[in-house]
Symmetry: D2
Subunit: 265 residues, 4 copies
């Protein structure tokens, strides 16, 4: 399907403030970006670089006064999410080097603390896809999904204590559980068509049987329409913005995802 | 200045033909891409990857029949080209690792064959910027610039024999001469505002005194308005398209570069 | 000075156990490896790769029974540690892209939680080197250094609660404090000549005034003789070994660092 | 088999001369380096870096006077070379991104000039492994292998004109022929046990059916005992040493490859 995404954030800046933004879409296997717009008001010099995970990042200094960022894109993404019950677990020794770092604990995914719990949640499942599906289902039915409840990322351990969280929090716990079973897992940040309420979204992917699969504990059913901004080990790697100096929060933030007609028809 | 660039190419395909295109603009220090469009007719699946030089490349299979590619962008680029007469040569041992590969001979820049000639052309110059400026001037006054004269890249040795060439050819010879003096040099492919006749363009950069400087042997004077698509060692690395199987040539190709008003004003 | 380092670890393996070892020395600016040995008993196939931080890692499956790993190297390293009181802080916007990831919170360095505390510890210091020196001194005088007290990495928050830890723990807290002041910091794992008691060692580096500086909160005085095995954001990135499946611990581990005569004399 | 390799080169230096050496062995899937030694006389500071192809390179300035480099290693490598007649050609669109650059022409492999010739040499062969085997056989029977005949790399076009060359020259022509058939090919530099006369060696690999296969046009039969120093597109990427300034040649060069007993037995 063809989607038109947009994100508009406005800030009220008091002192010159360095930002690292991550607001372009990933181009790659999963999606094709046919149009993209990136507008800053006021215009300031921007330096772009690619981070360790292949995400495009934009560095700039926001000047004092009102400052806004607007991005928009037309993107083709899959109508359906691939699901392969029974897809087998891969022994560590056969994993490609490039996914090994997604097995290790990270800032918000203390996978070294969840071995016992993950074993219980996935008891009786075939090793691989079915384990992760069981984790996703367990999250969906156990951890209360509360959009807007938190601005500050919390770690899997804390999410498990609170038994509730935003999409990012549920994903962190899902990732920690997967890694504790030696299944590589990563956080994805982006958009999802039809998300209620509409907002930026986070979900997770697990590496099974030689490829990454999508999982989302916030949704009753996995349906298509995911648009990827960035991948990383957890929210510390894929913040939509990192800002330095005295804290600044968006005073407005508006996210839209619309279905558009077949763009090139 | 804000420029609007576009490139439209159409092909008549007889058998399914794999392409690797390089038609997105580089985002980075030198320029800021505020809007970008990339349209294929008919629409086909595209897989995007980043090559060894950081250029974004698009892989696809063009199906039989008419096939067209259209890209367009709004980009802010420098009004003027930085020039620093006297900027000093850097001894090999102080060059950063990342530029060392631009010292070596490459497919179209046989720098191992030009030591004597480069020494003569730059006789009496301060080592560094002034040497490269002398090479650029020598190319401009000696090698006849003939737009459209050739579709097939030829190497520096051949350009020197013919004493004429397209922008890419003059750049290859310039690069080979720089490298033979132990000055790292690379080919740049992109657009240039005001180019006569308008076309895709190629020029070269040399690494002097800790940064890359722009040189262009096809122009009487270095003025701003350069827009970068890709960097590489020579044309073998930065082809706008590589195509495999029976040769296919564009039946139409239209390039435009317009000045637009301050985009965010 | 020329040092001869060695590390011997032996395990008693019950089921085939995948390992990722990180036991080669870094070759690079800081040190030169003139001889290296890496012996496994029994011999098993090893696959080597370079991780995201440039560390060389070795993958293998340890077979059931006794399994030992022995590495040894002759390495030249600096006699003294560079120290530059007054070296200035670099504003975020002037940091190279490659160090930005060392500003972010990581698994064991929750730098997002230490802003206030870091400000207090460094009150009155010049921004930059002097701040980090104050942090190192504060750690040395406040957090009790207890070699061998822990095998399991704990995070900066926990180290601060316990007020004691091994070298790795003190480093984690030091790194978290630096990052909270927008100073990039990383963990280093390796050897230190003269360490008492001798063991593998961990310390940290901070990026100030355009380069990395060494700090070590476990030592009264910074003296030379550091040998680097690996760099990373924290212990999750630079484990000497990661092992998967039922936990396995070394039954013996012997570390040696000897001064050898000028090797090439 | 376990091999002990060594390389000793001595120079007589007149002015301080920057070198980039490539004399460590690759560690990786194909071979395991259990011991390595790297000795310079006199000792000078060395800076090591990894090039774009993953080869370890050493930068140094040789001081005036006698200067020698000695490297030695104990390495386990395969007893036999994998050969898979019938292994199929992979269409461009299914090649991994990372091998695409080995399809393009490079300094010494003008693959854009050999399409017709490669088609003739491989007429009647199954696409894939059998084509490359036919190229290797054609080289072996057609191009006269003359060890020591040349110090200066020449390109595939020139090798084809001369109809003779050193191991590197035959490899360049083999690579150019492969690439002209859309088969990725790369140069390998290293040692070969049993080579007559003993010297550093060069051969080539082609990417077929999802992996790299070894080919060597200088040998009547492909037997094991290959030890890899570096990979690259051609000799411009994998020179054992690049030297800058007035040319310097080794006054002695001694290469040894001995069979040693099972090292860890």
């Amino acid at each position: 399907m063809w989607l038109r995404t947009s994100c508009e954030m406005s800030f009220d800046i008091t002192v010159p403030t360095p930002f690292i933004l991550m607001l372009r879409l990933r181009s790659g296997v999963q999606q094709w970006v046919a149009r993209e717009e990136y507008r800053l008001r006021p215009t300031v010099p921007v330096f772009e670089f690619t981070d360790n995970y292949g995400n495009l990042c934009q560095r700039l200094i926001a000047p004092p006064g009102p400052f806004s960022v607007y991005t928009s894109a037309d993107v083709m993404t899959a109508d359906e999410v691939d699901q392969t019950p029974g897809a087998p677990f891969i022994d560590i020794q056969y994993l490609p080097d490039s996914v090994l770092s997604y097995l290790l604990p990270s800032r918000y995914c203390e996978s070294d603390r969840f071995g016992q719990m993950a074993t219980e949640i996935t008891a009786g499942q075939l090793l691989g896809y079915d384990q992760v599906k069981a984790i996703e289902t367990w999250l969906h039915t156990t951890i209360h999904y509360e959009p807007y409840s938190s601005d500050i990322p919390v770690s899997a351990v804390e999410v498990n204590l609170r038994q509730s969280g935003v999409c990012r929090d549920l994903s962190h716990l899902g990732i920690a559980l997967c890694r504790s079973l030696s299944i590589p897992a990563r956080l994805v940040v982006g958009y999802h068509y039809g998300l209620e309420p509409m907002d930026l979204h986070a979900w997770f992917e697990a590496y099974i049987a030689g490829r990454w699969y999508t999982f989302d504990a916030t949704q009753t059913e996995l349906i298509g329409g995911y648009v990827v901004i960035g991948y990383g080990r957890d929210a510390a790697d894929v913040a939509i913005y990192n800002q330095f100096g005295p804290p600044v929060y968006p005073i407005t933030q508006e996210i839209k995802v619309q279905l558009i007609e077949e763009k090139n028809a």
